[in-house]
């Protein structure tokens, strides 16, 4: 492409354009129409329901019959219900422990697989496999795998592993967190791998000249350079914890007792099993508020809004 030849008419054209008042405005109008179809879908099935769930939280509905106003009673009941606080606490535990478990592993694996040896590429392929399985499939497989007599424990001949993993309230929550990590660490590894590959090599060379060791380089270069990657990954991880439903639903159904009944599952069971759509909507609103608060908090942590950080990375 001969850019030299293009420069002259371009300048000419730019001059003409600046002469016209607000030239970009003319192009903006037809372009805006292109965003309308996506906007319609999103508004119809995300924004309207979002408003709808707030409205429904002030009503009673059994899922079939008429919707009747309920005032603030659903909200008062929710806040008086120990079950809600229990679900909220479990959600918090799953979110925080998942983050603490998954972030270091994904970060290490991401840095590791960003290398260029062939076997690392092969590892990265194998890591990806859990992402292909549906949560239902994973939950079903783990149920079989955790069977004390016919599962992994018997296979490895390790009595220590032969526990009633899904029947013991304390263990079941641990299992849920582990299986979530099994499913999602590959995805976050991939995100970190991409982030690491974008760090300019010259920074490391400079550090090397200054005599910084590898551990120092990791903590003072790699980690700070991955700041936005860490924020992206953490946002997806923590907000994701508010959507864990199918895995836990199939794996434990919230049990034993209510030991793994985290908020999204609690919402489903309240709404679609107990047919209490009003109280379930209250739980849904709480989920939305937590999600938004988390995302805003994490963005604030980054010091810039998301679009800004993305432009920055280019």
């Amino acid at each position: 492409m001969s850019t030299g030849q293009m420069t002259a008419p371009k300048v000419h054209r730019e001059q003409r354009r600046t002469a016209a008042p607000e030239p970009t405005r003319g192009r903006a109008a037809p372009l805006a129409w292109l965003a309308v179809p996506a906007l319609i879908f999103f508004v119809a099935f995300a924004v309207v329901p979002l408003a709808g769930v707030l409205v429904l939280s002030f009503t009673n509905w059994d899922g079939i019959g008429a919707i009747t106003p309920a005032g603030v009673s659903n909200w008062l009941n929710a806040f008086a219900d120990p079950g809600m606080y229990h679900a909220l606490w479990l959600t918090f535990v799953v979110m925080v422990v998942s983050w603490l478990v998954q972030t270091p592993i994904s970060l290490l694996l991401g840095v590791f697989t960003a290398g260029s040896q062939k076997y690392r590429a092969l590892l990265a392929v194998l890591y990806f496999l859990p992402l292909l399985l549906s949560s239902a499939a994973i939950a079903i497989a783990y149920k079989a795998l955790l069977d004390p007599n016919f599962g992994l424990a018997a296979g490895l001949n390790m009595p220590l592993l032969a526990q009633d993993w899904l029947g013991d309230p304390g263990l079941a929550l641990g299992v849920v967190i582990f299986v979530i990590a099994w499913q999602f660490v590959p995805f976050h590894t991939l995100i970190y791998q991409g982030g690491v590959r974008q760090i300019p090599r010259s920074i490391y060379e400079a550090a090397e000249i200054d005599g910084a060791g590898k551990v120092k380089q990791f903590f003072f270069i790699t980690v700070p350079q991955l700041k936005y990657t860490i924020i992206t990954s953490s946002t997806l991880m923590t907000v994701g914890a508010l959507t864990y439903f199918d895995l836990i639903f199939v794996l434990t159904g919230g049990g034993p007792g209510n030991a793994t009944r985290i908020l999204p599952l609690d919402m489903y069971l309240t709404g679609f099993r107990a047919n209490l759509m009003g109280p379930a909507s209250v739980l849904a609103v709480i989920l939305v508020v937590i999600g938004l608060a988390l995302a805003l908090f994490l963005q604030r942590l980054g010091g810039k809004d998301r679009t800004g950080s993305q432009l920055e990375g280019m």
Binding site: L50, V250, P264, G271
Partner: protein, 277 residues
């Protein structure tokens, strides 16, 4: 070329974690596959991690006869029906957001970015109500419509990142050639964004194919079941026959695995670029 050496860093802990995690990933998958090839007797009699003494495909035959093909086609219809419109509307919106100006598009962009932070599952009760009111309850379309909406924010985010990378000079030269924005979109942005479109397509396809909540809530007829739901009901019915249940797990994964093998390079590079900016 760039960064070969620095990436050799952290070899020891990274490498250890790498191999350890490989074991954690592979053992359950290995267990699923070998168990699915065992007879009931083999399942109860053998070491669970030993390969089957007399491998059998009987479990697979049984699963396929138990309506697997119907679930498969339902899943295929829902996935294609959701992914194609998602790609079309998200691509046009991304092009507008990157190329256009003005408060409207900035607002649309902000709205989609906010959508990333909202657990959209929390909107399932009003969606259920809307689908009933629209007379779409218990149809495949009921799954498709919300799936499109749920997929838009991330699709737009990834596609915008790609379109932003198109050098401005290319857009300028298109304009000099007298192309309208519409032509620029199809002739310039679309071919250059193809990797992102494939990535987003596979990623969303995976999400819809594996989706569980929407089919669970918005359909009820057995003949409208999609694979994950079919898997779940099958598990309930055949919970005593673990090899058959695991055969159904393998069967539901094979189509995705094939797709992954075909589009792997594209998917990985696209996801990497889409998320790490």
């Amino acid at each position: 070329m760039k960064g070969r050496r620095r990436l050799g860093r952290l070899n020891l802990p990274g490498g250890l974690a790498g191999w350890l995690w490989l074991g954690i990933t592979i053992v359950p998958i290995y267990y699923i596959v070998i168990t699915s090839l065992k007879t009931q007797a083999g399942y109860f009699g053998q070491n669970p991690l030993a390969p089957p003494v007399s491998p059998t495909l009987e479990n697979y035959r049984m699963v396929i006869e138990a309506d697997f093909t119907r679930y498969f086609f339902n899943s295929a219809i829902v996935t294609v029906g959701a992914v194609i419109p998602t790609l079309a509307v998200a691509f046009m919106a991304s092009f507008a957001i990157v190329r256009g100006k003005g408060k409207f598009l900035a607002g649309v962009n902000a709205l989609f970015l906010m959508g990333l932070a909202i657990p959209l599952q929390a909107t399932i009760i009003p969606i259920y109500l809307m689908i009933i009111k629209m007379n779409l309850y218990d149809s495949l379309l009921a799954i498709i419509l919300p799936s499109i909406a749920f997929a838009i924010p991330l699709s737009v985010l990834i596609m915008c990142n790609f379109i932003r990378d198109v050098p401005n000079e290319l857009f300028e030269s298109m304009r000099l050639d007298g192309c309208s924005e519409w032509q620029t979109m199809w002739r310039l942005a679309l071919p250059l964004t193809k990797p992102a479109i494939v990535t987003v397509g596979i990623y969303n396809g995976l999400g819809v194919w594996n989706g569980f909540l929407l089919p669970l809530i918005l359909t009820q007829s057995p003949e409208l079941r999609v694979l994950p739901l079919g898997l779940w009901t099958f598990q309930g019915e055949f919970s005593v026959n673990i090899p058959a249940v695991l055969a159904s797990v393998v069967l539901t994964t094979i189509p995705v695995l094939v797709l992954y093998i075909v589009g792997r390079r594209q998917l990985l590079s696209g996801l990497t670029a889409g998320f790490s900016k």
